[in-house]
C-alpha cells in the first residue's frame, strides 16, 4: 500500500537493452526507469528477461545494444566494481554470509573500520546497531553470530552490508522473501520502507504478486525479453491487470493431446510433513496419471519432492506405493522401490558431467548391461544407442562426455536413464528449466508417453503453463500446505498464478 509519498526525480534509466545468447534472445529492447525514493516492482515469468536485465545492470553481462543512464549521465561499460562504486547495490537471493562471523563483522566485511591500533570494533558495533535501528527499523545485537540468527535477520544483515557505507543510491532486491516464513517477511518490508524514506531507489523483483501490490509504488511487467507494461500508483486491485500482462498472448501448443486413461491407484501420501518446510500433505497418484505440483519458492514444493525420493525424511505422515508402506532412508531405497527422480539441479545431481552419455544412460540399470558382473560394453552401448535414438539425443554419438551436451539433451539423458530402468513412479522436478523450446516439446511428449505406458507421473514445477498443459490434475502448495487440488482443465494461468501466490487467500479474506 503506498503511503502517498511521491517518488522523486528519475535516477536510473535502462534504455532499449538487447542481449542475445546462443539460441535465445534474452532481452529484446528492454527499458526500465527508476526514481529516487520509490519502490519499483519488477515482475515477469521465468525466462521473461528479468534476471538478464539485472545482470546487465550489475555489470555481469555486457549488453549488445542499449544504454544505461545514472542521474542523466550515460554510463560506460559496466563492471561489478564500477557499479558498486556508483552506488548500485544488489541483494542477491543467496545470503553470502560467514556462519561464524558476528553481525557487525559480517556487515563490515570488506569495508572494515580502522582505528589507530587495528580494527575499530567498537565503532563497527555502534554503527551497525545504529543502522539497524534508524534505517532498517529493527533491533539487533551486533555481537550475535550469523548462524544463530533467523533467516529474516540474516537477510537484514545482508542488506545492511550492502548499504552501511551510506553510498547506496539504487538497491535491487532479488526475491528477498522467498525463503522466509510468512510472518518474518514483514521485518524485511519495514526495512525496505525505511530505505525508501532515505531517498533510495529500490527495485524489487518478486513472484509474490500480493507482496508486490502491497509494497511497491510502481510496477514494470516483463514478457518475452522486454517491458510490456508499466503501472503507476499500484494498489491491491492492480493484481489482476498485472498478472494479465505477465501472461500476454496464448502460448503455442507445445503439449501433446492427453488421452486420460487413468488406471489403478499407485501412490498414496497421507499427512506428510517434514517438521519445517511442509506439513499435512495428502496426495494420490494413479497409474497413467500426470499430477502436477505447483508452488513458489518457499512453498515446500522442492522439499516435498525430495522427500518422495528419500532425500529427506518425513517427520509425520505415511507414503504408500501400490499399497505397500514405504520407509525411504535414501534415494537407493526409493529406486529399489521403483521410484525415479529427474532432479532440478541437472548438472550437479543429474548427469555425471565427465562420463560419456552411454555410461550416464546405463547408470541406474547396470545389472542389465552386465555379464557376470562385468560390463558388457556392446550391450551397454546398444541400449544407450537405442535410447538416444528413441529420445533424439544430440549428438547421437553416445561416447560424447555429457558435459558437452546442451541442457535439453542432458535432460533427455537423465530421462533415458530412468526409462532404461523401468520405474513405477516418475518424479520430475523442474523438467524443462534451462531447456530450449524444441527439446521441451520432445520432453513433454515423452512424459505423456510415459503415463500412457502405465507409469504414474508427478511433475513439480514453477512453470505454470507447463503444469497446465501437461498434467491431469494440479495440487497447489503455498507456504508449506496444500491450498487445493484442481483438474487442470478447470484452471487457466491467471487463476493458477493467483493460487500459487496466495492472492486467492488474500482476496478471500
Amino acid at each position: 500500500m503506498t503511503t502517498g509519498t511521491q517518488p522523486g526525480p528519475v535516477l536510473l534509466q535502462l534504455g532499449r537493452i538487447c542481449k542475445a545468447f546462443p539460441g535465445v534472445q534474452a532481452l529484446d529492447g528492454a527499458s526500465l526507469v527508476l526514481a529516487r525514493g520509490e519502490i519499483h516492482g519488477l515482475v515477469g515469468e521465468n525466462g521473461a528477461g528479468k534476471s538478464t536485465l539485472i545482470k546487465v545492470l550489475a555489470g555481469v553481462y555486457a549488453p549488445d545494444s542499449g544504454n544505461v543512464q545514472l542521474d542523466g549521465q550515460d554510463l560506460p561499460a559496466l563492471t561489478p566494481a564500477l557499479v558498486h562504486a556508483l552506488g548500485v547495490r544488489f541483494i542477491h537471493q543467496e545470503l553470502h554470509l560467514v556462519p561464524h562471523f558476528s553481525v557487525a563483522e559480517s556487515v563490515y566485511m570488506g569495508q572494515e573500520l580502522q582505528a589507530l591500533w587495528g580494527l575499530d570494533r567498537r565503532a563497527m558495533r555502534k554503527r551497525t546497531r545504529q543502522f539497524f535501528n534508524d534505517v532498517l527499523h529493527a533491533q539487533i545485537n551486533p555481537d550475535a553470530l550469523v548462524r544463530d540468527l533467523g533467516i529474516a535477520e540474516r537477510k537484514l544483515v545482508q542488506i545492511a552490508r550492502a548499504l552501511i557505507d551510506g553510498a547506496a543510491r539504487v538497491v535491487v532486491f532479488d526475491e528477498p522473501t522467498a525463503p522466509l516464513p510468512g510472518g518474518e517477511a514483514e521485518q524485511v518490508f519495514a526495512a525496505i520502507r525505511g530505505l525508501r524514506a532515505q531517498g533510495v531507489a529500490i527495485l524489487y523483483v518478486s513472484h509474490y504478486i500480493e507482496e508486490i501490490t502491497g509494497l511497491c509504488d510502481r510496477v514494470t511487467v516483463f514478457r518475452n525479453g522486454r517491458d510490456v507494461a508499466r503501472f503507476e500508483a499500484v494498489t491491491a486491485a492492480s493484481a489482476d491487470a498485472i498478472v494479465h500482462q505477465m501472461i500476454g498472448r496464448e502460448i503455442g501448443n507445445l503439449f501433446p493431446v492427453r488421452r486420460a486413461a487413468v488406471g489403478a491407484p499407485l501412490l498414496q501420501v497421507n499427512g506428510l510433513g517434514d517438521g519445517a518446510q511442509f506439513s499435512e500433505i495428502d496426495l494420490q497418484v494413479a497409474r497413467g496419471e500426470i499430477v502436477g505440483i505447483a508452488g513458489l519458492l518457499g512453498s515446500g514444493r522442492e522439499e516435498f519432492t525430495d522427500t518422495l525420493f528419500g532425500l529427506r525424511r518425513p517427520t509425520q505422515g505415511t507414503l504408500r506405493l501400490d499399497g505397500k508402506l514405504l520407509r525411504l532412508q535414501s534415494p537407493a531405497d526409493a529406486v529399489a522401490q521403483g521410484i525415479a527422480l529427474v532432479p532440478r539441479d541437472r548438472r550437479h545431481d543429474g548427469v555425471v558431467l565427465d562420463m560419456a552419455v552411454a555410461d550416464n544412460i546405463n547408470l541406474a540399470s547396470l545389472q542389465q548391461c552386465a555379464t557376470l558382473g562385468l560390463l558388457n560394453r556392446r550391450r551397454a552401448n546398444a541400449r544407450a544407442a537405442q535410447q538416444a535414438q528413441a529420445l533424439d539425443i544430440r549428438p547421437r554419438n553416445v561416447q560424447t562426455p555429457a558435459r558437452l551436451l546442451s541442457g535439453g539433451n542432458q535432460q533427455k539423458v537423465v530421462l533415458a536413464r530412468w526409462l532404461a530402468a523401468g520405474p513405477r513412479l516418475f518424479l520430475l522436478d523442474e523438467p524443462t528449466l534451462g531447456v530450449d523450446v524444441g527439446a521441451r516439446e520432445e520432453i513433454y511428449a515423452l512424459v505423456a508417453g510415459l503415463a500412457e505406458s502405465g507409469v504414474g507421473v508427478i511433475v513439480s514445477s514453477s512453470d505454470l503453463s507447463e503444469l497446465l498443459g501437461l498434467c491431469d490434475r494440479i495440487v497447489v502448495l503455498f507456504r508449506g500446505q496444500v491450498v487445493g487440488e484442481y483438474p487442470a482443465a478447470s484452471l487457466d494461468i491467471a487463476s493458477l498464478m493467483t493460487l500459487t501466490t496466495g492472492s486467492a487467500q488474500a482476496a478471500a479474506a
Partner: protein, 324 residues
C-alpha cells in the same frame, strides 16, 4: 536467480595439452637416465626396475581405488605393516601353515580397512583426516607392539612362504606374478566391471551417483576394506622377502603410492585415476629410484633427489589435470 559474477579462472596459468606433458616427462626422464648411465638400458637392469616396483604397485593399486572413489588413504602403509606383522606373528608364534599366514596378513589389512570405513562412512569424517588418524594410531601401535620399533624376525619360515617374495616361476619372480595378479584384479574391477562404473561415478559426482540410486555408503565402505586388504598382501610379501616384520617399513611407500596414482591419472584425457596409469606411474618412480642408484648417489642424496622429482612430477600432473 543468481546474480553472481561468473567467476574468473581461479588459477593464472593456462593448461597444457592433455597428457602431452606427462608423456614428455616420462619419456624425457627415461632418455636422460639412459644417456647419463649406460647400464640403465641393459635388459637385466630393466628387469630390476620391474622387480623392484612390484610391491609399490600393489600399494598404489589400493590407493588408486580410494582416489577413484573420491578420497585419499594415508594409512595404506599401516595396512602394509599389518600385513607383514600378522603374517610373521602367525608363522612365528602360532606355527600356522604358510597359506594361513598369508590370510592372517590380509586379515590385518581388513582390520585397518574396517577402521577407516567406519570413520569415513559411519562417522562422516573426511577420508584424509580419518586415514591420518589411522596412520598415527597404527604407527604408535606398531611401536608399542615391538617395544620401540625393533623388527621381529623369523628365519624358519616355510619355503613356500619365502617363495612368495624370492621364488621364481617360469623366469619371472613370484613377486612380479603376484603383483601382476593384483593388477589384473584391479583392472577388471575398476575398468571392466559394473561395480567399477559405480565407483567412478561416486568419485566424480557423489551427489549424482546418489540420485541415480546407488548405495554410496556401502560401496565406499567396501572400497576401504578391499584397498587395505590389498596393501596388507603387499606387506605380507615384503615380510617374506626379508623374513621379518620391520615396523613402519610401509612409511617409505606412502608418498610414492600417492604420486604413482596422481601421475597415472594425468596420463588419461579426463584426469581420472586408472589402473594402467598407476602402473606407468609406478614404473616411472621405480625408474627414477633405479637411475639414482646407478648414478651412485648416496642414500641421503637419493632422498633429496627423489623428493624433488616427486614434487615436480606431482606438480606437472596437477597442472595438467585442472578442470576447464
Amino acid at each position: 536467480m543468481n546474480l553472481i559474477t561468473p567467476r574468473l579462472a581461479r588459477h593464472a596459468l593456462p593448461r597444457p595439452p592433455q597428457a602431452l606433458l606427462s608423456c614428455l616427462t616420462l619419456g624425457g626422464v627415461f632418455v636422460l637416465f639412459a644417456w647419463l648411465v649406460p647400464p640403465f638400458l641393459q635388459w637385466d637392469n630393466l628387469r630390476n626396475i620391474v622387480d623392484g616396483s612390484a610391491l609399490l604397485l600393489i600399494l598404489a593399486l589400493g590407493m588408486t581405488l580410494i582416489v577413484a572413489i573420491g578420497g585419499i588413504d594415508l594409512s595404506v602403509c599401516i595396512a602394509f605393516d599389518m600385513g607383514a606383522a600378522f603374517a610373521i606373528v602367525a608363522l612365528k608364534d602360532y606355527q600356522l601353515a604358510w597359506y594361513l599366514a598369508v590370510l592372517a596378513g590380509i586379515a590385518g589389512g581388513v582390520l585397518v580397512g574396517l577402521l577407516n570405513a567406519l570413520l569415513v562412512v559411519r562417522l562422516s569424517i573426511s577420508p584424509f583426516l580419518a586415514t591420518l588418524g589411522t596412520f598415527f594410531i597404527g604407527s604408535s601401535v606398531q611401536r608399542i607392539f615391538t617395544h620401540g620399533g625393533g623388527p621381529i624376525s623369523f628365519r624358519e619360515a616355510p619355503l613356500e612362504f619365502q617363495n612368495l617374495a624370492v621364488g621364481v616361476l617360469g623366469g619371472v619372480p613370484v613377486k612380479v606374478w603376484l603383483a601382476g595378479a593384483v593388477l589384473l584384479v584391479y583392472f577388471v574391477l575398476l575398468e571392466r566391471s559394473i561395480l567399477g562404473q559405480r565407483i567412478h561415478a561416486i568419485g566424480m559426482q557423489k551427489s549424482a551417483a546418489q540420485h541415480a540410486g546407488m548405495r554410496v555408503g556401502a560401496i565406499v565402505f567396501a572400497a576401504f576394506v578391499f584397498a587395505s586388504a590389498t596393501c596388507a598382501l603387499g606387506g605380507t610379501i615384503a615380510s617374506a622377502n626379508m623374513q621379518m616384520f620391520t615396523p613402519m617399513a610401509g612409511h617409505a611407500y606412502l608418498l610414492n603410492a600417492i604420486a604413482a596414482v596422481f601421475i597415472g591419472a594425468s596420463l588419461r584425457a579426463n584426469g581420472r585415476p586408472h589402473v594402467l596409469g598407476t602402473l606407468l606411474g609406478t614404473l616411472f618412480l621405480g625408474m627414477v629410484a633405479n637411475g639414482f642408484n646407478l648414478m651412485g648417489l648416496e642414500p641421503n642424496e637419493k632422498a633429496a633427489a627423489a623428493g624433488l622429482v616427486l614434487l615436480l612430477a606431482l606438480s606437472l600432473s596437477a597442472w595438467q589435470q585442472r578442470r576447464r
